[in-house]
Structure formats: structure tokens, C-alpha cells
Symmetry: C2
Subunit: 426 residues, 2 copies
Amino acid sequence: MIEKRKPLAVKEAINQILKFSIKGTSEYVSLQDSDGRYLAEDLIADHHVPPFDRSPYDGFAIRSVDTTEASSENPVEFEVIDEIGAGAVSNFTLRKNQAIRIMTGAQIPSGCDAIVMLELTKVYKKNEKMFMSIKRRFSSGDNISFKGEDTKKGTILVKKGTYITPGIIALLATFGYSKVAVGKKPKIGIIATGSELLEIDEPLVPGKIRNSNSYMIESQVKRCGAEPVFFGKLVDDLNTCYEAVKQALEEVDFLITTGGVSVGDYDYLPEIYQLLGANVLFNKVAMRPGSVTTVAEYNGKLLFGLSGNPSACYVGFELFVRPIVRTFLHSNYPHLQKTKAVLGKDFLKPNPFTRFVRGRMSFSDGTLIATPVGLDKSNVVTSLADANIFIVLPGGTRGYQAGDLVEILMIEDQIGSDIPWAESFK
Amino acid sequence: MIEKRKPLAVKEAINQILKFSIKGTSEYVSLQDSDGRYLAEDLIADHHVPPFDRSPYDGFAIRSVDTTEASSENPVEFEVIDEIGAGAVSNFTLRKNQAIRIMTGAQIPSGCDAIVMLELTKVYKKNEKMFMSIKRRFSSGDNISFKGEDTKKGTILVKKGTYITPGIIALLATFGYSKVAVGKKPKIGIIATGSELLEIDEPLVPGKIRNSNSYMIESQVKRCGAEPVFFGKLVDDLNTCYEAVKQALEEVDFLITTGGVSVGDYDYLPEIYQLLGANVLFNKVAMRPGSVTTVAEYNGKLLFGLSGNPSACYVGFELFVRPIVRTFLHSNYPHLQKTKAVLGKDFLKPNPFTRFVRGRMSFSDGTLIATPVGLDKSNVVTSLADANIFIVLPGGTRGYQAGDLVEILMIEDQIGSDIPWAESFK
């Protein structure tokens, strides 16, 4: 039974999916376990920065008024009455021509209104007492970092939904987040179907190939911030597949099947969707590769039927699954980052459909270059290994030449975009 | 006691460190646990790709010789004698005007030398038998993917030292790597020193700040592929610090201390190095921030004394620790990727030293833009959170204007470079 399918434009397909996109719940993890996760709450300053008036330099705390007469001809002498390291607080209040030795980050002592850097002073002992002298004037406030001048208490520093990097970890620590609210990872079920599939540790036999897609998808799931749950590799049998899909759906937030969605006779997915009573959003997309991608919705859960072809499967995941995962994680930038680049190599193959050509990004004197990988047969095998972008070539009959400006999608990027990139595509 | 220090050029500092750079051992992990690690062996094709002659389309396997007379006026009829799905092998050998229904990926049956795509045929039944007809000629070899045409068995597909992405996972699965040899993660000890440091869950008290650097470094350590081991936060006491450093060195491959390397009086690191008998490679670098970075070597192990200032600590890690980690992991690209970008904002501050300005990368019509973050006071706090590049401004008196072409280092990049970027800097 050969089913006729009506291809949907990429933009429409993504919009269909986004309608069922939901935000997940959050959970608390320790600060150390929060990197690589997505903030589920705004990061707010719990105190002023700096939290107190402090010294940005190693030097001496003085009263600026005592330097009024200072010049290179007339060094002014100060008695050093105390010294304070970072973390310590002086009990002294500065009086006329007194100084306190102060380290970087230490709190400005009482009476002080200027810091003199160590290298601008001359330090010496006299009668067992410590002195220093200065040869220039200082004004009130010189070299003091004032409480709250960098950030006021209560300021939102990083927005909810942001990917947590080492720099954000530093902020979380500074503001006392020993536990961090992060988006709970969605569980994504993976089922590989196809009687031709061998386990990875099985020797090859005629007609069969090893299952690679489910491992690749697991890795893509992790890369985009979700948790993979592998339900195994199934033979092409309607009942087996139906039971597996039904069971898996109860345990996960989204389900991915790979294989079994070709136009061939052994495609049981349409029947499975029918048996489930799932709502098929589309079963063909006007794009290459990945045209046979099918997406259905069942009780609010999305079922992604990705192609059994590795490249089509890879592209289908990044275009259709990733924005759903990032939305679930409260990301404000769930979409792939789209930008322009200069094509690094001819791509002369004309094509009526929008193409997602696997490519590699490089830079040359400030210009972004996008070079297709896998154009020749020998590179097809490694093209997924080399790719870090998709070059998006809109449908049309002409080919593209090196030097043309083309659109690219960045797939190894954690930043993403708040703009649905596909809006500008057919 | 104020120690005089002679600043080393950045290039020299990195070269000093690289002399003590070593490659780590490898370990086997399951394919599912290998992503985000670094290959410790070349990835080699264990079979031809395709592994057998196969059909790239759904259609019919035929003998091209039988289509010699076919035309739109003269459709040629074939009897369909068998059908083979992916993974199955037909027992039939094609004879005159026989065809076998074949699915994408299935092995070409005996006698067949061409595949006709399904959509070019007309399929019908006659006397309970299945037939199809074709209206054009086919040549021998048409639509057949021949064994080994993509990749020959034994080809090195991905080099040792490469970061494992989902695309590489797909290759590893295809070629039967159920266990993958990856670089063993170096253990990097972290010690935070400074009497001013509070725990992250402690309330602020006068003069003190929360320890943020050790958490930030832990996250940087993980990002660059190593395993952090935190040995705690120590007060500024020589004996405590010495014992902690000595103990930690026995348990790790590299040790990072943060804080305690300022030019202030409370810097015990020089004494600790002396007590250990460590070989101090340098204790000052001609750069901003991070000038007080100290690196020593003890029994072949590197000790990194990073600044207590968060920005200087962050920069010091990426410049000096990261290449050592990546080399340990057998990466062929251990260095930060350097490229040129257009400065997105004025940076008018003149500076005699090479500056590493925290910046953010963006794109505009194929041009790479580098915008400094944290130029104004209020952004200083969040500059580490926003930064994904360092803008490298060589020492000199002039400032830089928006539109100037500048060098940048990419710090969130997993690709890296085989060229030591600092070679071109003072």
C-alpha cells in the first residue's frame, strides 16, 4: 500500500510543532551540578557590588586632605598605624597624617577617603615605627570602589532560560546560590525500527547494517539539553512496534522513532498513529534531506518519526526536536541561530526543494565562511562528523557558487535565537 | 616583604608551560558515554561503505538489458517475482523480464544491474500475479550504490584527539565501536585561598566576599574536558596552605590555586613553591587582566597560581590551563582558535600591555563582530556571564575604534587550533 503524501513547507511544519510546545517544570540542583543546564529563575543580585567601599589596589588608605601640600619637592609623610588584608576590617579611624596599609579588596577604613597605590609611595622605618611618603595630591574618592557602584542589590543579572556557563556559575556563587533552579530535562524516548539493523557489536551479515541512528540521536538529545531513554531496536512488525510506542509514550515527554517512515511498504508508523488515535501534524516536508519526517501528537505529547537515513535523521532532529527541547527548558532562544556566510565551495546541484546542506564554519579575516562537507562520495560517510552548520539553500533550479552569500544555521551553538529562523523560508 | 617581579610576554609564558605539557593515558568507555570526550585512537572503517551493493531508492531491481526497447510508446512489462525489505536478501536470481520489488537500503539481488525508482513504474495485477511496466531505458549500474564506493575498509575516518560529537557517535556505531578509547580526563585540583572568602551559603559580613572562583574554575575545568577535584577554601596561613598544596599534588595531574598571588603582603605562594622545591616558570605576565599569574613545575606536574580576581582568574585559566588539558586529551587542536573580527564598539582605553577584553561574538551578513562586554561599571559584574570570546588588543598606547579589525580568541569553541595563537603576540 503506497500512501500519497502532501509535502508541507519547512516553516509550516515547524509552526505546527511549536503549537504543541510546552514549558517543563524546574528542579533544584547544587551549584556544582548546574553548569550546562538552563536557569529556571532569573539570577538576581542579593547584595550590592561591591558590598562595601573597598580598595581596588594594594596600597595605603589615607585622608586626601593631608595631601594638599604634597609635591615632588615636598613629600608628605604618613605614619602607618595598621595593616588590613582582604577579609579583615581595621579598628582604627584615620587621623591627621596617618595611613593604613591596605590590600586589594579590603574594606576602606573609617576616616579614609582615598587610596594611594603602593608603587607611588616610599616606605621606610623610623624609631621602630613604619612610615611612608607621597609626592602628589589626591582627591576625595580617588581609587575607592564604592558600595553598589557596579550593581545594586535586586538587579536581574541573567534571565531565566539562559544556558549556564562558567561565567554564570561565578555570578551564582557570588550571589549565594548554593542551590540553583534549573529547567528539568525532558525525557526523550528513542526507538529504532528496521529489520535490517544489527547491534553495534554484531558482525556484519549480508543485507544488514548496524544501528547507528539511535546512538546518534541519544547524543543529539544530550547536546540540546535533554535526557535520552532508549527503548531498543525493533524489527519491522506492526504489533511489536505499536506496543513499544504505546508503552514508551507513558514514560517520556517526547518520543522519537527512527526508520520505518520511508515510502516503502514496510512503514508501520501511519498504522501505529491510527491505532493510537494520534493526530498526525504532517508526514512529508518540502526539504532535503528529511522529507519523510512525520510528526504526530498524542495526548499533548509529540511523536517524532525521523527518517532511517542518518543524515535525514540528524537534520530532522535539529530542525524539529531541538526547538521543542529548548522551549521545555525555558530557553528564551529556542530556535537555531541563523546567520549569513560566504559559500566556500561551489554547490552546483540544482534542487526544487529547500536543502539543508551539512557544512563546516570557518573564518577568514572577519568573514564567515560556510563550506559544504560530504559533496563527494567519500565524504558522505564523514559528513555528519565534520558538520557544525547547515547551509540552507532555498528551493529553486539554480546552483550556488563559491563566494555567494548564503544562510546558515548553527547547530553546535548553545546560544540559539529568539527568532524562528524558518519564518523567512518556504 | 614586597617581591619585585619581571613580567614575561604572553607568548613566552605559554611556551614555558607547553614544555611541560604531557599526553595522558586512555581508557575505554561505552559508546553512549563517549560523547563530549576526545578520541584516543583513530576511528577506522571496519568494513566497506556501502558494505554490499545496495539500492538507494524504493523501487524495482531489474536487468538493464531488458529495457533496451522501452519507450513511452512501448512500455516493457516485468513480472514481480519477489520483494525484499531492508535487511532481507532475495533467494531469486533475475531472469529475462523479471523484477524484484526492493526497498531503500536493501541488497541488490543476483542478476540485477539497475534499480528503477518506484515513481517511474506502473504497477498492476494480472491473473493473481504482480507486474510492473517501464517506459524508458536503463543502463547497467543505474541507481546502484556499489560496495565500498563511499569508503574503503581500513580508511581513517576521524583522527585521534578529536572531540566526539553526535555525528562522530554515528560513525563509531556504524563501524562497530561498542567501546570507545578516549583520553582519560586529567584530574585538576582546585584550592581557593584568601581569608576574605565566605562559603556561598554564608551571609555577607563586613570586609568579606563569597568564594566564587573555585566554582567558576570547576566549571571551566569541565568545559575544557577535565575532571575537577576541589580541595577547599583556605585561610591565608602559610603552613595550612603548604600542607594542602603538598597533599593535593599527590592526588591530581595539575593543581590550580586561586587567590594569594597578588603583590600584597599575604601572598604565601612564593614561599610554598620554595618549600616544595618547585621550579617557578614565571610569576608575572605582561598582560591585563591576569598579570600576576604564576606557574611552577614540581616533579613534572604543573601548578597554576591564578589571580583571586574573577576576570583575571578566568582569563588565566583559558590561556594557560586549557592548552595543557587539551594536549593531555590527545587533541591535535589544543590551542584557542584565533581569528579576526570587526570591533563592534569603541575601546578607547590605551594600555601598554596586551589586553584580553571579554567580548561577545555576533554575526552580521557574513561578517564576524566582536563586542566588548563589561566596559562600563554596571557590566563588569556580568561580563564573565556574557563573554564567549577574548578580544586581544596588543600593547600600545592607542585605543581602538568600532569598525577596526581585531584578533579574537574563541573560548566556548570545542574545535580549537593546532597553531599556538600567541606566537604572533608579544
